[in-house]
């Protein structure tokens, strides 16, 4: 018979173990460590609060300034040189036209590119590696550079003029890298076991993409698209270069019309000398934020719908 080992292993009295220190109520563990923990907790909380407080201050300032100016008349009027009569209708219509067209152009191209890179291309070939590298780099190019490209290619070379179409094409170029990279991440998250299950049924690659890969990754792709389109909606710089006007006294009726967008309209108002226009600008900012929140909400609802269908 072997002798039973002791229930608790014998402990060498000289060796300090964390458990022994803890049981002895060592100050290094119970005092200093707790203090350190609290300090880091505080630092991180302060960092978070900084952002929240700043946002709160900004919103408060804007809302206070817009009181009495954000009304039905403001939402339904065209711009004017008299602050009391000035409205945001044409900028709102311009923003919706531009963003709608941007999404229509950027989403299909972005998803198609991501599908090619993830599902079809051979990542070991130098050609595909260069494409991948460039897409990541393009995401970091300043938006004004895209504006210059848009001016040269769409406004001048293609002859679209200073139109919604030129603006939307420029914004589409701007957000394509973000859409592609986030869509690629979403496609990478599709489990190999699901693709294998589809292939094992003799289903073709394209049918596997439409049947399994896209439905599974659609919530992730849409999330990336939401972020990208929100960014495009707040952009002013590239559109100024492409030639969006500061004063549009009509509503666009086709993609080839001249246009302005909310950020440019707001920028235009803030640079006027009359004090009243600062209030008009604040009212415009509220409209822009509301529009952003609405698009995000619609997109999130859409995403949840897809997600529910998958669960």
């Amino acid at each position: 018979m072997m002798s039973q080992p002791p229930l608790s292993p014998s402990v060498n009295q000289d060796v300090a173990t964390p458990r022994k220190l803890f049981l002895q109520g060592h100050p290094g563990l119970n005092g200093r460590r707790k203090a350190k923990n609290n300090i880091y907790h505080g630092v991180l909380l302060a960092g978070t609060l900084f952002a929240v407080v700043m946002l709160g201050l900004l919103l408060f300032q804007v809302i206070r300034s817009s009181i009495g100016w954000l009304d039905w008349q403001f939402l339904t009027s065209l711009p004017s040189r008299f602050p009391k009569k000035a409205g945001i209708l044409s900028a709102m219509a311009g923003s919706l036209w531009t963003i709608g067209l941007t999404a229509l152009i950027a989403l299909p191209i972005g998803i198609a590119t991501a599908l090619y890179l993830e599902e079809y291309s051979d990542a070991r070939k130098w050609f595909n590696r260069i494409i991948q590298l460039n897409i990541s780099n393009l995401a970091g190019v300043p938006s004004i550079v895209y504006g210059m490209l848009g001016l040269a290619v769409f406004v001048r070379l293609a002859g679209f003029g200073r139109s919604i179409l030129s603006g939307a094409l420029t914004l589409a170029l701007l957000i394509l890298p973000v859409i592609i990279v986030t869509a690629q991440e979403a496609l990478k998250s599709v489990p190999l076991s699901l693709k294998e299950a589809s292939y094992a049924l003799g289903v073709s690659k394209w049918q596997t993409i439409t049947g399994v890969v896209l439905p599974y990754s659609m919530p992730g792709i849409l999330t990336g698209a939401i972020l990208a389109i929100s960014r495009a909606m707040g952009e002013a710089a590239p559109l100024i270069i492409v030639g969006a006007a500061g004063y549009i006294a009509f509503l666009p009726t086709s993609p080839l019309d001249a246009f302005t967008v909310l950020p440019i309209q707001i920028f235009n108002w803030t640079s006027r000398p009359q004090e009243e226009f600062q209030h008009v600008a604040s009212a415009g900012i509220i409209v822009l934020i509301a529009l952003l929140l609405t698009t995000n909400t619609i997109a999130i609802l859409l995403r949840n719908k897809y997600q529910n269908r998958m669960d």
Binding site: L194, E196, A197, S198, Y199, A200, L201, G202, Q207, V212
Partner: protein, 255 residues
């Protein structure tokens, strides 16, 4: 016909490489029709690799290369000229981990047939009922056909995956450790199912469970380091193995 009488398939001198590493060496094996063939052997011995050659799932592995001949319905399953999609309509597969699509039970079963051109609702309904009945899961799910397949238990999910495979009305079914992720009761129900399925289908199963091989299979092939050490009737092999290594592996003394 290169297959012998009563045989569904014949592998002849099959070699397989992953890059520089040779995973299979001179595999020759006959697969009897309407029988269950078990592939056994320690991890990394090449049995799953062999299974995946048969429906070309190794095509997705970088640097994979096969040589030799696998006779099946007048085709050679090794080679570039094969219509892989058509082959997989004939040879179905059930994986180690249940992998139902994140869709409804109904959608899971009709996933394959629908994509191969069966569109009529009545035909699809019939196919769903028939496949789920064959996979012995109909009674459990018939009232919830449009619920998510992910809500099923592991054992039910695996039977659904078998039903999804049966809906293609395959000729031969490959199973890669189909009960490895399941509890004993679910394992039992899948084993019972296998015994009824072999009346209509030819089955090749990879398993790490010796009792399972002994219980369900008719023929067993013992793989070791990429070679077949011994192949024969299961009863014969488990009662008196010809090779000492086989005997030691089966009785659990190594592996």
């Amino acid at each position: 016909m290169a297959e012998k009488a009563g045989m569904k398939m014949r592998a002849e001198q099959v070699n397989f490489w992953y890059g520089e590493h040779q995973a299979l060496k001179n595999i020759t094996l006959d697969i009897p029709e309407n029988k269950i063939t078990a592939l056994i052997g320690p991890s990394g011995c090449g049995k799953t690799t062999f299974l995946k050659i048969l429906n070309r799932m190794n095509d997705y592995v970088d640097g994979a290369r096969a040589e030799g001949i696998i006779h099946y319905q007048g085709m050679n399953l090794i080679g570039d000229s094969l219509d892989v999609a058509a082959l997989r309509m004939q040879i179905g597969m059930v994986f180690q981990k249940p992998n139902p699509f994140p869709k409804s039970i109904y959608e899971n079963v009709i996933y394959g047939p629908k994509r191969h051109g069966i569109r009529k609702k009545s035909q699809l309904d019939q196919l769903v009922e028939q496949s789920l009945k064959q996979a012995a899961i109909w009674d459990e799910v018939k009232d919830n056909l449009h619920k998510s397949a992910l809500a099923l238990s592991g054992g039910q999910q695996q039977r659904l995956c078998i039903a999804r495979c049966l809906a293609m009305q395959p000729d031969l079914i490959l199973m890669d450790e189909p009960t490895a992720a399941l509890d004993p009761i679910s394992t039992q129900s899948i084993e019972d199912l296998l015994l009824t399925l072999k009346e209509k289908y030819t089955i090749i199963i990879v398993t790490h469970n010796m009792q399972q091989a002994a219980r369900v299979s008719d023929q067993t092939a013992f793989f070791l380091l990429g070679e077949i050490i011994e192949v024969g009737e299961t009863k014969e092999m488990f009662l008196n193995a010809k090779h000492e290594t086989t005997e030691r592996y089966i009785s659990g003394r190594f592996g």
